[in-house]
Symmetry: C2
Subunit: 483 residues, 2 copies
Amino acid sequence: MATVLKQPPAATLERLKTAIGAKGWTADPAEMSPHLLEERGHYRGRAALLLRPATTAEVAAAVRICAETGTAIVPQGGNTGMMGGATPFEHGNEILLSLSRLNRIRALDPLNYTLTAEAGCILANLQKAADDADRLFPLSLGAEGTCQIGGNLSTNAGGVQVLRYGMARDLVLGLEVVLPDGQVIEGLRGLRKDNTGYDLKQLFLGAEGTLGVITAAVLKLFPRPREVETAFVAVRDPAAAIELLARTRSGTGDAVTAFELISRTALDMVLTHIPGTADPLSAKHEWYALIDCSSGDSGGGLREAVERTLADAMEAGLVIDATLAASAQQGKAMWRLRDSITEAQKPEGGSIKHDVSVPVSSVPAFIAEASAAVARAIPGIRPVAFGHVGDGHIHFNVSQPAGEPKQGAPRDAYLARWGEINRIVHDIVARLNGSISAEHGIGRRKVDELAHYKSPVEIELMRTLKRTLDPKNIMNPGKVVVP
Amino acid sequence: MATVLKQPPAATLERLKTAIGAKGWTADPAEMSPHLLEERGHYRGRAALLLRPATTAEVAAAVRICAETGTAIVPQGGNTGMMGGATPFEHGNEILLSLSRLNRIRALDPLNYTLTAEAGCILANLQKAADDADRLFPLSLGAEGTCQIGGNLSTNAGGVQVLRYGMARDLVLGLEVVLPDGQVIEGLRGLRKDNTGYDLKQLFLGAEGTLGVITAAVLKLFPRPREVETAFVAVRDPAAAIELLARTRSGTGDAVTAFELISRTALDMVLTHIPGTADPLSAKHEWYALIDCSSGDSGGGLREAVERTLADAMEAGLVIDATLAASAQQGKAMWRLRDSITEAQKPEGGSIKHDVSVPVSSVPAFIAEASAAVARAIPGIRPVAFGHVGDGHIHFNVSQPAGEPKQGAPRDAYLARWGEINRIVHDIVARLNGSISAEHGIGRRKVDELAHYKSPVEIELMRTLKRTLDPKNIMNPGKVVVP
């Protein structure tokens, strides 16, 4: 898929080493190794050199040399992506550009509710810096202790609070970017309103490093929530969950920060395999919603609003049973049920995964149709539907049939049908006007799948942008879109 | 500034007329006249033909013919823009493309909190449609009874609720766009999460019709607020206002929907010239904040939270006096003071206007520095600083000195210094890392000013995008950026 590049000549590598200085590069296999393996182990690449510039000027110098010599660059943050976007190809002719030393917080302005951070800052460190200033940086996801903000922005990361605060893209006011020719866009403006021409930063957000290298950003902060209410709710069915979501948004002053759907199948797996978990409700139900609402106002009005909303929904037949966490600890225990689903699926054998979204109102139709369709393909297959249904985002992970051995040949045979099952599910997603990659991006893994589902006009416009901004095809070639 | 184009040959005009049909075009001077005059009367253009297509297919057909024949197109919505972006040039060789007949609401999905509307829909009609479905479409601005959503999106309109809900760009989930070659991007996806490659819609939002024609959009809706609290607050100074803003965001669970700064000079002009207005507070003060908070929760907690925040701020010396509207009518009267400022400035003689923004934390410095600088240039000049200071957006409108005659030669002499005063103010804005066009865009009026202040790298990238997407330079040529 990638352009097959020649190994960069020794002279080019020497120029790059000199430009960054002794601390800023390595060719040591042991040091490079963790940077070459994709998160889930799907890819192990090679690289001609690992660069670790410490300043934007050093990034620009390196990119300039690569542009002059036609050398391909793979930018890398915390290397936690799941689509292989940050992993170099196996041919080893690319330069790996780690942003990890570019890790200063340049400014924190509580009155402007902004934080200016370099690409290599670890997400959790930014959350902490904001919290220390009595502010919230709302981007939050499983890998937050390792992932870097540059990668989060390049992949337009989502996470658990999208419903309230938006995707990573929505949290950016300004960007500093090194273009594929080494020029620098110094766009670190912290403005809420700026209508001076095309919004250039949008090009680089979510482009997975294929159009330039994000080196720093001005990020939006929010008031730190002072009250969080967590509810675990048995709902009649997915349609009732969606209706409850709309009512909770209305009833709480749009205070819903997370709204997750959990099926009985998923909960059973968690209760079976994850020690120390317990069903928060006394009876068994088919579908649950896990709801977080938060407010910066600690006056106690939020809890009342959530209780009122749930009571009304129970009267309307949408909610069967519900419990509101009495403490932060209880809330955490509820979230542990949700966060353990992927782990709990592992002992159940092979799982074919989907990271899809549809309009929120189409979630019930999607779950019904996709569950029926995969069961037609493989009788006994166990759909585990869960996820950020408040955003229309469903992790539709399908476990192999229960009766089969969970390891060895039956598991392998099941996983060999990954592409077939993906196609069945993605066709339904496409029909419902949804997305085949809600959150994880395209990287290397979904390049062909994207070309299959995206309209020719859109794919061609993407290609045109890639060719225009990166005419030498040196920025993360072979990822996202092939020019 | 625009490429000087030749008058389209009669054959081209005939092809266009045939493509759209009898109802869809006019060359009648009387019918065309209102479409040719810019809102504030700064420009009166001419056009070879006015096209009024009723469907996206008709728009595409027209653009295709224009692309084939190298005919320039000026897309136009409600024609309420203030930068001349929707006005054709005086040479009369352009086709004016009105979107006003493309005015259907295609879908309203309360559970997905989305509204799908065609470009020609009047903004107020969309607000009403959302309201009828117990939802809020939060885009709101002075021209809402006339302006059209296509124009709002093409100019990335702001308005009074940006602080809470963002600019027009932030309210869009999907776009349908006719490209400069007549191809159609069918991107009407109503997804909260979609990481499938470059976010192409961003190119067209705020591009003022220079990269394509927006024909329809999927817009985000929100819960309809059930409680609105309006406060009129005397603050110590602009710095205290900014501190109060931060505290109110924190103290109310980020329920602040508008936060406007008003100077005594501005209030005095309103009380003098606008009948039926009264000072809401008993004593005179130098600076005021007008604050709106809103919540979908009608439990009454919001009023308490606002009261508590104001009381604390008074204790901290930020607030001198404050009054909370006791009824919707009182709140309206407070807003009338703010909304009448521009009108009240008129009898005070010439006013040189600025539509600028800076980081919220720099607003006090901007007001102090800009007021001092213009007073050095013209002693006695009266800065009327007001506006959406919650977004760092200041309408810095400077009235001529009080002692002078308000009409005739002194007024003309004052207004002749518009460019000089603009330069003084914009230099300060640039130093504070602000924007010379917070809200109104670039259009025709600020093309040179933008080229002066934007970095060469950014201007060149804008030019590159324009050349790439519109190689024949037929889409609203001469506006925003000259390729």
